[in-house]
């Protein structure tokens, strides 16, 4: 075992590669990259500035290009594919899994995509075209076609003899699929059952009832849930007529789980979950500016509400100074509820059956926290400015806004979900608008009533 951690080791290697690249020691870089697994090569490409990526790509052993493409983040991959000629891409494609190749092809411009398909041999092309005919985020889009099938009436001994003849199995094969002559899926027999059963045992008696087939149109997030629920390593995929089409393996499911969990976090900041950390400056600026624009509209709404109270703001500068406090606390409290509910929806904890209970709970939490912070801030302000009325005004606004934040934090994501809008993406903007508007209105409105002259 190395004394340093994996992460430090990765960083050291990355530095080594980049320094060698900077000094133009290309032969050395090529040597460094030679024995790395595809995952590490992808990590190095993702961690390097865009201008180094093209050179690094050339220095990677061409036989590994396919595997590296499979591992790459989508945005980074697109950048690299732009610089590869279609004929070359067809050569790279040969070594790739059908599901990964289909994923790569989907991101290409139409003309290039056609050209790549045309330069493939007809058998490969038809396999890829089948994969492309399924929706990207469904079981069909992530399945592979390298299944091992057997007939129900053969014995374990026959299977073992066949396997010895074959000499190898597709990766992550933990079960064989039993099919009839029309390729209808009958059931699965685990590799474990094959090695622990007597040679004369008939396959049909070994079928594992726990392994059920996945419909080709099932969304990939549900596929991931099934894998988590039953601890599967692989699962068969069938069509409506129960024809066996392929299988899904755990490594693809792991990617889905990671992407799904990252998606919420990135979306809440208005970022694409496939965002390239080292994207070119102009591209990043463009991507970010959309979100900033949306937020400017939100911020201008807060300004508009404040401007309704121009008169009292002109009279009392202290109101201007304190005006940010209530919206800020409301935003933080609302965002906590929002995050909890978004995670709850993703995990399947929150839905129609318990949304009312959750609403009451968060309303109560908001109200209680409202009381706590209202009392505290009222005391601080009353002592600081020797003004009990001002203290009362800000306390009232705080209580109103934290209660509103609790209600908004639960209802916004649920309403968005119903409208088929991603709550992680739109939720926080809408929430902040509400907590800003309610906060300013409650504070300056009450102030006008009690402090205006």
């Amino acid at each position: 075992m190395p004394e340093i951690s994996e992460q430090e080791y990765s960083q050291q290697r990355l530095q080594q590669v980049n320094e060698a690249l900077g000094s133009g020691m290309f032969v050395y870089v090529r040597k460094l990259l030679q024995n790395m697994p595809a995952y590490d090569l992808a990590l190095i490409l993702e961690s390097s500035p865009t201008k180094s990526r093209t050179i690094l790509w050339q220095l990677i052993d061409h036989d590994h290009h396919g595997e590296v493409l499979e591992e790459l983040n989508e945005e980074v991959r697109k950048g690299i594919l732009k610089n590869i000629r279609p004929e070359k891409l067809a050569a790279v494609a040969e070594g790739m899994d059908v599901d990964d190749l289909a994923e790569v092809l989907r991101t290409l411009p139409d003309s290039v995509y056609r050209e790549v398909l045309n330069s493939m041999d007809s058998q490969d092309r038809s396999r890829v075209e089948t994969a492309l005919s399924y929706e990207e985020d469904t079981a069909g889009g992530i399945m592979n076609t390298d299944t091992m099938t057997i007939r129900p009436d053969v014995t374990v001994d026959v299977v073992l003899r066949y396997l010895r003849l074959k000499g190898e199995l597709p990766e992550a094969t933990d079960s064989f699929y039993v099919v009839d002559r029309q390729d209808h899926f009958i059931g699965a027999v685990s590799l474990t059952a094959i090695v622990t059963s007597k040679p004369e045992e008939v396959i049909s008696s070994l079928i594992d009832e726990e392994i059920t087939a996945i419909n080709v149109e099932m969304p990939e997030t549900e596929v991931a849930q099934l894998f988590e629920r039953y601890d599967w390593v692989s699962a068969p995929v069938i069509d409506e007529e129960k024809h066996l089409l392929g299988r899904i393996t755990i490594d693809d499911v792991v990617d889905i789980i990671r992407e799904e969990a990252e998606h919420s976090m990135m979306s809440m900041a208005g970022l694409d979950d496939e965002a390239d950390t080292f994207a070119p400056i102009v591209k990043s600026t463009q991507q970010r500016s959309i979100w900033l624009g949306v937020n400017l509209v939100t911020a201008l709404m807060a300004v508009a509400v404040s401007s309704m109270f121009e008169e009292i703001l002109g009279q009392l500068a202290i109101l201007a100074i304190l005006n940010t406090l209530v919206p800020s606390m409301g935003g933080v409290a609302g965002n906590q509820t929002l995050t909890l509910v978004i995670r709850g929806i993703a995990l399947g904890h929150v839905g129609e059956s318990n949304s009312k209970a959750l609403l009451y709970k968060e309303l109560a939490v908001g109200f209680l926290n409202g009381i706590i912070w209202a009392l505290l801030i009222a005391t601080v302000v009353a002592l600081w400015k020797q003004d009990m009325v001002l203290g009362g005004v800000i306390a009232f606004a705080m209580l109103m806004n934290l209660t509103a934040a609790g209600i908004a934090g639960v209802s916004i994501p649920l309403i968005l979900k119903k409208m088929d809008i991603d709550p992680a993406l739109a939720g926080s903007v809408i929430l902040t608008t509400i907590t800003d508007v309610v906060g300013i209105f409650a504070f300056l409105g009450t102030a006008t009533l009690f402090l205006g002259t």
Copy 2:
């Protein structure tokens, strides 16, 4: 295949269970719960209010209690364990995997934990005590001891005969571990190799070089990276002297990956990643109030900065109205950079070797976006208030703050990481403080210079 989605189905079932529970139809509920897998039972418990959980727990078939505990979220599990007597818990523990049982025991109060251990038989107790001797978040903490070992000098035929005698294998067994007489790990032989090789082949010639052993002290996040890198289904765990101690399986790794990805999102909102969606109101209020308190301090710092400009705020009410605009945009922009960098650190993309390049990039992105929004907001304000100087003042402040946001968004998480503080937890508070202070200072400061009388 059902016509409705998995998620809708879960929600329907949850509603069914809760309605039946509400009407006191306990026998029916028990029947509903009887044939559900442990994952679904855990989901139902997690999705129910705390007061229903105790009853539901009683209605779940007691033989399934162990499996359900394994699947439960930590906070929910603690709540349920509080109500179980130690003797009962010992009975539940019998059916559990050693790694999961150790995890459960760690969360118990010392007295209960001792009592549970004492009521177990000595063999089980010693296995659990060994598991407990390893750190929770390391390979030792997540490994299981159910390994299949074989000697290097036997033949495939002998192994197959042994397996047939044994009749079953531990879950997710995709390879056997070859050990010498002192239990030193020599290598792994895949189940695939066993079934595809000739009966007379010797085990030592079938060792798979791709499967390397994991040190028992390796942090679990690094274990997860290795599984992702090499697409492992299971991996052996060894100590410093290369003794085989156990193995880690992909289902535990999937949990780690999900938790890790959720952790960032929850921490950024100041929530614990094991937070119970339906926690009791008082508990939730307490947990949230800490974060709100921290944010109140931040908000008061912004108030303090504003109060330094009381004079000019008193003169020009329009400054009070516009005062939220620049800090708000800075907060959003900074948060985007922060989120990108936090994800980059978690994925191993960002470290010392490329932090400078990232800083320049985000500085440039912040500056460019600063120019865009400065120009836009200057135009809006100049047209609205017919005041070119005011437009210039807010434009300058916007440019300053978005640039500062870019710098802060990259440097804060990197500095926190170096200080061993979780960037996801502390990052956004510190960032918001900076963008608030810089934004208000730049806006009101410049206004004092150019608009003050």
